[in-house]
């Protein structure tokens, strides 16, 4: 079942999320809902706080839909960056909680990440390219951090004002 995606500014997007003690059926259902929401958006990553759940859970799939490549949906409970490369990479990032706004963000280009998968098993993998940027962007969400927090204050404020306006418009349209 698709979940509504919170739009910035929202205090739930600024809060550090709690670690998950056990991968329960309820959390698996949340992960499945998030995956459905992400694909429908469409997006390549989604963090639990973006649907209002303050738990350390992200989903991602950076395979582009139109390339004919097999999809690779990843569910990560308690994801953690173990090591990052000195080499850095710039990607133009966007965020489903900040629709239609994009900006260059520099991050480590390769990261080792550990997490618990959907079946409760510990996993570890090295990510590079778009996957590295995406997984870091999503893990940032679990610490209450957005990609616009890497931008200059003026640019960030401009984007935030646009989002406040967008939320008001959506409230009226929904009525």
């Amino acid at each position: 079942m698709k979940r509504p995606i919170l739009i910035h500014p929202d205090p739930r997007l600024k809060k550090a999320c709690a670690p998950i003690a056990d991968v329960s059926d309820a959390l698996r259902k949340l992960a499945d809902d998030m995956m459905e929401t992400m694909y429908a958006a469409p997006g390549i990553g989604l963090a639990a706080p973006q649907v209002g759940e303050l738990s350390r859970l992200i989903v991602l799939d950076c395979i582009k839909a139109d390339t004919g490549e097999e999809p690779r949906p990843l569910v990560m409970f308690n994801p953690r960056v173990l090591a990052s490369s000195e080499e850095r990479n710039v990607y133009e990032e966007g965020c489903l909680s900040i629709p239609d706004q994009y900006a260059d963000v520099e991050r480590p280009s390769v990261v080792d990440v550990e997490w618990i998968d959907r079946d409760g098993n510990p996993r570890q993998e090295t990510f590079d390219g778009l996957w590295a940027t995406c997984v870091q962007h999503e893990i940032d969400h679990l610490d209450g951090k957005l990609f616009i927090d890497y931008l200059k204050p003026l640019r960030r404020q401009m984007i935030t004002r646009k989002m406040v306006k967008l939320k008001k418009e959506r409230a009226r349209e929904k009525a």
């Binding site: 079942m1 309820a26 209002g52 303050l54 409230a171 009226r172 009525a175």
Partner: protein, 165 residues
């Protein structure tokens, strides 16, 4: 038990988004006071931010004015579904006393929430109950009933409200 002061528009807290309730036990006393406040007002629904508590919780009782008490308390409510049908109706708000907004709302909703014992519940509501619940959920997102009407109607409502002095 005590009644709580109800915040009146334009208190800025009425425009803020509220945080989830983490521990149902921590809001048990607040819920008791909110019911007392709602029945005394008198009203059919009350959201925590209306009494200055910025958490995602509301109380409602859509039947009590007709003699059938049906108290309901919803923590961390979220809409799991909305029917296609809409109806337009007049809505008052305890935080904007003396004026009413004519708002279109879904006539059938499915609501998932946590009850005071911490259990997840799912309920389908129709008609007046659906309208009250949607109005209260909006409060948790800092949205007022007049945010859901067009600009001229909103301006007229706020002018009438201000004119009451």
């Amino acid at each position: 038990m005590s009644t709580l002061p109800i915040l009146k528009w334009p208190d800025p807290r009425l425009s803020e988004v509220c945080m989830p309730v983490e521990d149902p036990d921590s809001v048990a006393a607040l819920v008791t006071d909110m019911f007392e406040t709602m029945y005394a007002a008198p009203g059919r629904g009350l959201a925590a931010p209306q009494v200055g508590h910025m958490v995602r919780l509301f109380v409602m009782d859509v039947g009590w004015k007709d003699g059938e008490m049906a108290p309901l308390v919803c923590l961390n409510p979220r809409l799991a579904g909305q029917g296609e049908g809409h109806a337009t109706g007049s809505e008052g708000c305890l935080s904007v006393p003396g004026v009413a907004a004519t708002v279109s709302r879904s006539t059938e909703i499915t609501l998932i929430y946590t009850d005071l014992s911490g259990q997840t519940q799912e309920v389908t509501m129709t008609g007046a109950a659906s309208r009250v619940a949607l109005h209260e959920i909006d409060h948790l997102d800092g949205v007022m009933h007049f945010d859901r009407i067009d600009a001229p109607a909103r301006a007229a409502l706020l002018a009438e409200y201000a004119g009451q002095g």
